[in-house]
Each structure stands twice: as structure tokens, then as C-alpha cells.
């Protein structure tokens, strides 16, 4: 479990360190089962290509979940997420090999609000593309 961040110690403008998260075909199969989203494009290369995609792509929500993990790991166990939103700007293409793809997430503190709320802006990249834009979260810190 991560360290606990407190509202008082957070400074607006602070850059949060980048973290890299792996995603493989197995990740997507697990995510299909856990989420109930069995859209073919997330596990079937034949159909993904048939509908014009370069290969199997990650669920947008899998990518968002990695950004969510980034936020909760930074914020610590006593924090609560009150808002979380993203726009999916590029696909995370997941090749059928042992390596898969990676999603690199970084963040910045944008606001300190009343009620111990802290706003974050997030960035997520994969294979050089920005895969999330307008990604923001608000957390309540102790």
C-alpha cells in the first residue's frame, strides 16, 4: 500500500512521477471477463482487422483503470476519489506477443479546493500516442 498524502502537504503545480503499466492479451481477456465487455475488438484479431483496426485494442476502460490506479496509489489509502473523467484519444494496440503494450501515466496537481479536495490532471501514453486527453480526477485527502 502506498504512503498517505495529506491535503496540507500538496502543492498546486507539483508534477507526479510517471508510472508504466503493462497490458497484454491476457490482461484484456481477464478484463473482458471481469467487466462483462466482450466486444470482439478486444480479443479477436480477425474481427478487429475486419472492422478496420490495426490489431486487437485495449478496452478504453482498461486504460482508464490504469489511470485510476495511478491516482489512488498516489493519493493513499485514506483518500477517496470524488470525480474521475477521461477522453479516449487514441487506441492502445495490444500485439499478440509476450510483451504486449505499456501505458505510461503521469500527473500534475492542478487545484486545491475547499473540503480537502485536490484536482489532478493526468496524461497517459502508449507507443508514443496520447491515449487519454482531458483526463482529470478529484480526490479528497485527509
Amino acid at each position: 500500500m502506498s504512503e498517505q498524502v495529506t491535503y496540507d502537504e500538496v502543492e498546486v503545480g507539483a508534477e507526479l512521477p510517471e508510472v508504466s503499466y503493462p497490458v497484454t492479451r491476457l490482461s484484456l481477456v481477464k478484463y473482458c471477463g471481469a467487466s462483462g465487455d466482450f466486444n470482439f475488438i478486444h480479443w479477436n484479431e480477425r474481427i478487429a482487422k475486419l472492422v478496420g483496426l490495426p490489431d486487437v485494442i485495449a478496452h478504453g476502460m482498461f486504460t482508464m483503470a490504469q489511470a485510476g490506479r495511478y491516482v489512488t496509489d498516489w493519493a493513499g489509502p485514506q483518500a477517496v476519489v470524488t470525480e474521475f473523467g477521461v477522453r479516449f484519444s487514441a487506441m492502445v494496440v495490444v500485439p499478440d506477443d509476450d510483451k504486449g503494450a505499456t501505458i505510461e501515466v503521469s500527473g500534475r496537481v492542478t487545484d486545491k479546493l475547499a473540503g480537502n479536495l485536490v484536482g489532478l490532471a493526468l496524461t497517459a501514453r502508449s507507443a508514443g500516442d496520447k491515449v487519454l486527453t482531458r483526463a482529470t480526477a478529484v480526490v479528497r485527502l485527509p
Partner: protein
Amino acid sequence: MAVNRDYAGRTFPVSEPYEVSRVKIAEFATAIGDPNPLYRDKAAAQAAGHPDVIAPPTFAIVISMASSAVAMGDPGLGLNYAMVVHGEQRFEYARPIVAGDVLTAQPTITEIRDAGRNVMLTTSTQIRTVEGELVCTAVGTLVERGVGQ
């Protein structure tokens, strides 16, 4: 087949109650690769002030998708699901989802609009306990990619 614009503004029925289990939360946390003990260990969750294990923030999509699948699969809507990708997603949380919650979801299609060859379909879903407490509002935009792209 084209997306039926008449569905904009339509509110769908409240979903069947969904009982959030510790096992399902742990399965979801494992699937996203997150080892956080708040999602598995009741004592750790209680030490952080929660009544039981909590769900990761994006777990709310499981509840909202189960309800909106009915709406998105409505043959009258005419959405071609193989051509659909996720455009945007936003959650506002009144509190975390906790194991033991019995939740319902009610989706409303708030907007259907064209963006070039694509069609953007936005749904707002209120997730409430069966007692009526609002837990989360999920707003999602799906993109049906146009033919020829």
C-alpha cells in the same frame, strides 16, 4: 443501418438490482492489475474508514454497462456494436462502491450527434442503492465509427 436519433432523451427502465460481492471486486481489481488491499482486505478497508472492501473507481462501469447494454442493444436504436469504441467516460462519486451494496442503474441517452462520419452517443446513468441513495453518476460517450474509415 443508421443510429436512430429519436432515441435522444430516452430514459430506460431501472435495472435489476446488482449485489456487489467481495469476490467480484477482487476479480475486477485483479483484472486491472491493481494489488491495492482496500479492494481485498476488509480490515484494511475498515482501517481507512469504509464498512467493507471498496471497489476501484472504474468498477462503476460494470454496473452502468450492465444497464446500458439493454439500451445499446435495443434493436430500434440501430447501433452497430462491432463499430463502437469508447469516446469519453466520466464518473461523479458520492461515495465509493462497497461490498454488500445492492445497486440499480438507470440510463438516459442524453445526446446523439454526428462528428464527421462518426456518430457520438452519450448516456448518463445514475447508480443508486435499492434504498435510493445516489452512489455514482456515470456519463459515457460511445463512438460508432463510420463506414469507410
